[in-house]
């Protein structure tokens, strides 16, 4: 197990390097630069800007300086579009926001999804089952860019219950809509997966044995059925996490949460090289880390798997 983790972490380094070089090249090949703007800058001003940010160096040198800055000083460079801030600051501002509503949405999706799926499986073909299946069918494919404006319309304008956007770490009323909009479709998928795998487990021999021994139903479900039924859910969690980070773009746009999702799209569109690189590296590192966590979790749940 330990060796497995080490091996995976060793792969992380070349992966991140590849990611850096790939996005760096893509970015620089794209037409326009950070200072391309409507009123074309006089060549001298442009030259001054490029000199200030080291953009007049050869590309390999820029990559080298960039990687060097990160490894040695943990410095992700300056932002070209937000000259008052460094990339470190921008990420320090935006990432906790994304992490907060992302984690909450993730937990909500897993807890509600698993509960709903399990209940639906236990009450197979009962009203609860139909309700759960019905809701998850609708919620699963409703794009969150439809969901988000709908939530603002209903919860802010019509009912006046929640603020229509913005962010505050101290006031949970700002968290609710982002969490709902981000988690719903995953919640539905998790419920669906849980239901079908739970049904499968409940029909298996060892559950029949447990029941035959007269074990109370609640104990059967919690002690014996839930764990094996979680396997497919767990392997689904890695991709969920990644798509949630990607989906946070929509959340940031509609709810003005100031997270890193929008920061990434903006930086790509504005050619704010350093911000774009910083966010890509962050998300890449998170992806690697999370895939690793999911694998460990998987091994923990399913004793048959040995790495």
């Amino acid at each position: 197990m330990f060796a497995f983790i080490l091996r995976r972490l060793a792969v992380a380094v070349p992966t991140l390097l590849l990611l850096i070089v790939l996005s760096f090249l893509l970015m620089h090949l794209a037409p326009g630069g950070p200072f391309t703007q409507e009123r074309a800058l006089p060549p001298q001003v442009l030259a001054n800007l490029n000199a200030k940010y080291g953009l007049d160096d050869p590309l390999w040198r820029q990559i080298w300086n960039y990687v060097y800055g990160i490894v040695v000083h943990f410095d992700f460079g300056p932002s070209f579009v937000y000259p008052d801030r460094t990339v470190n600051q921008l990420i320090a501002d935006g990432f906790p926001v994304t992490l907060t509503y992302g984690t909450l949405a993730f937990l909500a999706a897993v807890l509600v999804g698993v509960t709903l799926g399990t209940l639906a499986a236990i009450r197979q073909n009962g009203w609860l089952d139909y309700l759960a299946v019905g809701i998850s069918i609708g919620a699963q494919v409703l794009p969150n860019f439809v969901m988000a404006p709908l939530l603002v319309l209903v919860l802010t304008l019509w009912l006046g219950w929640l603020p229509g956007g913005g962010w505050s770490f101290s006031d949970p009323s700002f968290w609710i809509m982002p969490v709902i909009a981000l988690s719903t479709s995953y919640m539905a998928s998790i419920a669906r997966i849980t239901r079908s795998s739970m049904l499968e487990v409940l029909g298996s021999n060892h559950i029949r044995t447990a029941r035959a021994k007269g074990m109370p139903e609640r104990r059967v479900i919690l002690r014996h059925a839930l764990r094996p039924a979680m396997l497919p859910v767990v392997s689904y969690l890695g991709p969920v996490f990644v798509s949630m980070i990607t989906g946070s773009v929509v959340i940031d746009i509609y709810f003005s949460t100031g997270g890193i999702g929008k920061a990434f799209v903006d930086s790509a569109l504005n050619r704010d090289y350093a911000v774009m690189m910083g966010v890509t590296i962050l998300v890449g590192a998170l992806t690697i880390l999370f895939n690793l966590v999911v694998d460990i979790l998987y091994a923990w749940i399913d004793p048959k798997i040995r790495y």
């Binding site: 792969v11 992380a12 992966t15 609708g138 494919v141 319309l153 990607t246 799209v265 890449g284 895939n291």
Partner: protein, 308 residues
């Protein structure tokens, strides 16, 4: 909305088992599939949507780009769905016929979905089969590469690609297709490993058939079930991805459109009294995704029946 890998692995394992009963698993599967109500409903929906995409253009009174000047500027009152003026689904904000646009959006979205999934499946199958069959160091390198690629946040790279190369159908196909071949490659490799030492492959090898030919003629056909199921389940994912890209404004060029573009336009104006602009495209989007899910799940259950 992600494919359940456990079930895919189980299916793949079954599809490569030596046939014991001497009876084609395909015949059994067909019987089971036909009995599966959800899957059959899904199939009917997909057929209807396909007919809509192919023949809808013939019924449309307007083209997808004509502006109806009598409606333009007062869409909320004049542009609602109507049989009289030929706007069966109403018009969009500019007075363009939403029926024609939905037909055309359906074509693009289905095309993106199918071609994208096709690319993913072809690349994934060949890659996995080659890695698994050739084995040794090649396999090591190929699978490490997959590990590395797995950790790249693809949506980010896709956005970069579209930003860099501009919007084009080819880029969209490639970009979307390149996202999801990795899983396919892993599953196929695993199964190729177990197929590799079976008698018929060894026989082929003994008679001097070339490696490439063995992969194409003997390995790949034995993976057909997995490929089919995977492809069916990939299509809706591709359609979802495209809709997200369209939401970001990086989708196809006007006057072409797609479900994602139509839905995101409709969602913007949902409180302005033009709800049909959201409702019609969203309806087709939703039923099609479900069609594919039901058919995909049905196919998988038919090919890999569990005792229930």
């Amino acid at each position: 909305m992600v494919i359940e890998h456990d079930k895919m692995r189980s299916l793949a394992a079954r599809m490569t088992q030596p046939e014991v009963r001497g009876r084609s698993p395909w015949a059994d599967a067909r019987r089971r599939f036909l009995r599966n109500k959800a899957a059959m409903t899904g199939l009917v929906i997909l057929l209807l949507v396909a007919l809509f995409a192919i023949f809808g253009g013939q019924i449309a009174v307007w083209s997808n780009e004509e502006l109806d000047f009598s409606v333009m500027g007062q869409v909320a009152t004049m542009g609602q769905p109507s049989l009289e003026n030929g706007h069966y689904f109403g018009t969009d904000d500019l007075g363009r016929d939403l029926f024609a646009r939905t037909v055309q959006g359906t074509q693009i979205s289905l095309l993106v979905g199918i071609v994208g999934a096709g690319i993913a499946v072809i690349v994934g199958t060949l890659y996995g089969a080659v890695a698994g069959y050739v084995g040794g160091r090649t396999d090591q390198i190929m699978m490490r590469t997959v590990d590395i690629l797995m950790s790249i946040p693809y949506m980010f790279v896709l956005i970069l690609l579209l930003v860099m190369f501009g919007r084009s159908m080819t880029m969209l196909f490639l970009g979307i297709g390149l996202i999801s071949w990795l899983d396919m490659a892993r599953i196929v490799r695993g199964q190729t490993l177990s197929l590799k030492n079976r008698e018929f492959i060894e026989a082929a090898r003994a008679t001097g058939v070339s490696t490439w030919r063995i992969i194409i003629r003997h390995i790949v056909p034995n993976l057909l079930g997995v490929v089919a199921v995977y492809a069916t389940l990939l299509v809706p994912l591709m359609i979802l991805t495209e809709s997200f890209i369209s939401f970001l404004g990086l989708g196809v060029q006007e006057p072409l459109t797609s479900w994602g573009a139509l839905i995101s336009e409709g969602a913007g104006t949902m409180s302005y009294g033009t709800l049909w602009q959201l409702a019609f495209p969203l309806f087709f989007f939703v039923i099609t995704l479900f069609g594919f899910f039901f058919v995909g799940d049905g196919l998988r259950d038919a090919l890999d029946p569990k005792d229930r």
